[in-house]
């Protein structure tokens, strides 16, 4: 059974419908990519799944329960973490305080401490800068903070929104290595990306979104080879 099951999800901003009834499934342990052009509704979809936006229709089931109308702070407790577009680090908080916020819902202090060390091992740069405010970091370092912070909540389902956005190529590569290793540890991931090639190379399955609807879905390798995807999203 799927960990995440989305049926006919609709999201609107006032009168403007951004997501017009999509179906989407993510099985436990899977890494699924959601690709599409700017304004296709990818970010809106993730925000609705994370409880930041209220869906105007449809249903979201997670781990066997309906979470369609749960606010985000409750979804974190259920194990859903979103790394928002543009990273959303707390610029005036230190790196360590940012990571600590990721563990806000947890009471197991020793385990949190151990997880913090694990994040520092994953991103040694963050350990060097732990006492700096996050606003002083580079874009790539901020993305590390954002991902590390999400991991601190020990998510079962990690929603990543454009993790490569605005980063230098080397940093993009590093971030995708980290995503692969998180996935290898068994965390389920739904990855939204404009960089379709990278996303599909990392994922096992993919969805293609266009103007608020899902137009194509298949195994990632099949999508990578498909003429339609190559023309529209891979620039070939």
């Amino acid at each position: 059974m799927s960990l995440l099951e989305v049926r006919n999800l609709k999201v609107a901003y006032g009168g403007i419908v951004a997501v017009r009834g999509i179906d989407l499934e993510v099985a436990a342990g899977e890494l699924v990519a959601l690709i599409g052009a700017n304004g296709a509704g990818k970010t809106t979809t993730l925000k609705a799944l994370a409880g930041v936006l209220r869906p105007s229709g449809g249903s979201v089931h997670y781990d066997g329960a309906s979470i369609t109308h749960d606010p985000s702070h409750r979804l974190v407790q259920r194990g859903i973490a979103l790394v928002p577009e543009g990273r959303g680090v707390f610029a005036r908080l230190t790196v360590e305080e940012n990571l600590g916020m990721g563990a806000y819902i947890r009471d197991d202090r020793h385990e949190v401490r151990a997880d913090l060390d694990r994040i520092y091992a994953l991103f040694p740069r963050l350990k060097e800068r732990r006492a700096q405010t996050a606003g002083t970091l580079s874009g790539g370092e901020q993305q590390m903070v954002a991902i590390g912070r999400a991991l601190m909540s020990r998510p079962k389902l990690l929603l990543l929104d454009e993790p490569s956005m605005g980063l230098a190529p080397l940093m993009v590569q590093k971030i995708f290595e980290v995503i692969a290793s998180i996935s290898a540890q068994g965390v389920t991931i739904l990855l939204v990306e404009q960089n379709a090639r990278l996303a599909l190379q990392a994922a096992s399955r993919g969805y293609v979104m266009e103007s608020g609807a899902i137009t194509l879905t298949d195994a990632a390798s099949t999508l990578l080879a498909s003429e339609q995807v190559r023309q529209a999203y891979l620039g070939e």
Binding site: H73, P84, G88, F90, Y104, R149
Partner: protein
């Protein structure tokens, strides 16, 4: 020199009270970008509740020591004000959270009027004398007088400022408050119940306001249902002077404003004494010879200074002394 030292002591006392009230404005602004114009009324309610409690305990011959009675007054004022702060956030501001910023601002003014008139109905429209039950010894330091009440106000304020700083920078709730103030949406993604954090901010600010109310009442010996309006405006000016939204700024702004006011009041008579001017008319010279002074403005101009400072800050440094540039808060 004696005047100077005396006014410094008076200014520090006044400034501590302003600082505590200013913290209430700045905390709320920092977290929801709302100027809670009803905060001055919360301070007034704090003074009124304490006045009632202290008055009835002192009149009932309970045999309690005066200090205990005053503490009981504070202990009653704080939860009442916290309840008022919580209620106004829940009933008036939360439903308007997504509304244009003018709507909650006007609501705040409305709440302020409602609270003032409720207080008038409960405590009458007359100025009430605040029971002065603790002995108030006066110490002399280098020719200036310091009263026990002044020492108590300054040290209690300092204690509260330390406590608040520790709360905001050392606790889980404080970190959640700072995170929410920066980005409520992402704070929610971390599992922070934003509504609860915002309500806590109002409650803490109101609790500080309650203590400030008791301090003002004790210091001036008087309480009136309109006392919160001017005090609130001055504390708001102090918060703007320090940089609204900035905790250290509110403390600094409050103290500075108190000092400016006290020194202004202490020296304005001398500064506007026409007898110091050499080209005065013969008519005035006669009066100078007679009285020694012809003062243009007396210390009743004290209240003007807070607003002169507010205007100067808004003109020359709108972000305040410790505030960041306005453009940074996008």
């Amino acid at each position: 020199m004696e005047v100077f030292l005396q006014q410094i002591i008076n200014g520090l006392t006044l400034g501590s009270i302003y600082a505590i009230v200013a913290l209430g404005y700045t905390m709320v602004y920092g977290i929801v970008q709302l100027i809670n114009f009803a905060h001055g009324e919360v301070v007034m309610i704090g003074a009124m509740v304490a006045l009632t409690v202290i008055g009835s305990l002192a009149g009932a011959n309970t045999g309690m020591p005066p200090v205990v009675i005053v503490l009981a007054g504070i202990a009653c004022a704080v939860p009442v004000c916290m309840a008022v702060g919580y209620t106004m956030e829940r009933v008036a501001y939360r439903p308007l959270r997504g509304a244009p910023r003018l709507a909650p601002l006007i609501t705040a003014i409305g709440i302020s009027i409602i609270l003032q008139h409720l207080a008038m109905l409960i405590w009458s429209r007359n100025p009430l004398s605040f029971p002065q039950i603790i002995p108030n010894p006066v110490f002399e330091i280098a020719g200036a007088n310091v009263s026990g009440v002044q020492i108590a106000i300054i040290s209690l304020s300092a204690l509260m400022m330390l406590g608040l700083t520790a709360l905001v920078y050392r606790t889980r709730l404080g970190t959640a408050m700072r995170a929410t103030s920066e980005n409520p949406q992402v704070a929610g993604l971390m599992g922070v119940n934003i509504n609860r954090v915002i309500a806590s901010t109002f409650v803490i600010g109101a609790g500080l306001g309650a203590v400030a109310g008791v301090m003002v009442g004790t210091y001036y010996g008087i309480a009136h249902y309109t006392m919160g309006a001017l005090l609130g405006l001055k504390a708001f000016s102090a918060a703007v002077l320090g940089g609204i939204g900035n905790l250290a700024g509110a403390m600094l702004g409050g103290i500075l404003l108190g000092l400016v006011e006290a020194l202004g009041a202490g020296y304005i008579g001398e500064l506007t004494d026409l007898c110091h001017v050499s080209w005065i008319s013969t008519g005035l010279a006669e009066r100078c010879a007679q009285d020694g002074h012809v003062v243009l403005m007396g210390s009743n101009y004290q209240d003007v200074f807070a607003f002169l400072v507010l205007i100067a800050v808004l003109v020359f440094r709108p972000s305040g002394l410790l505030g960041e540039r306005v453009g940074d808060r996008a």
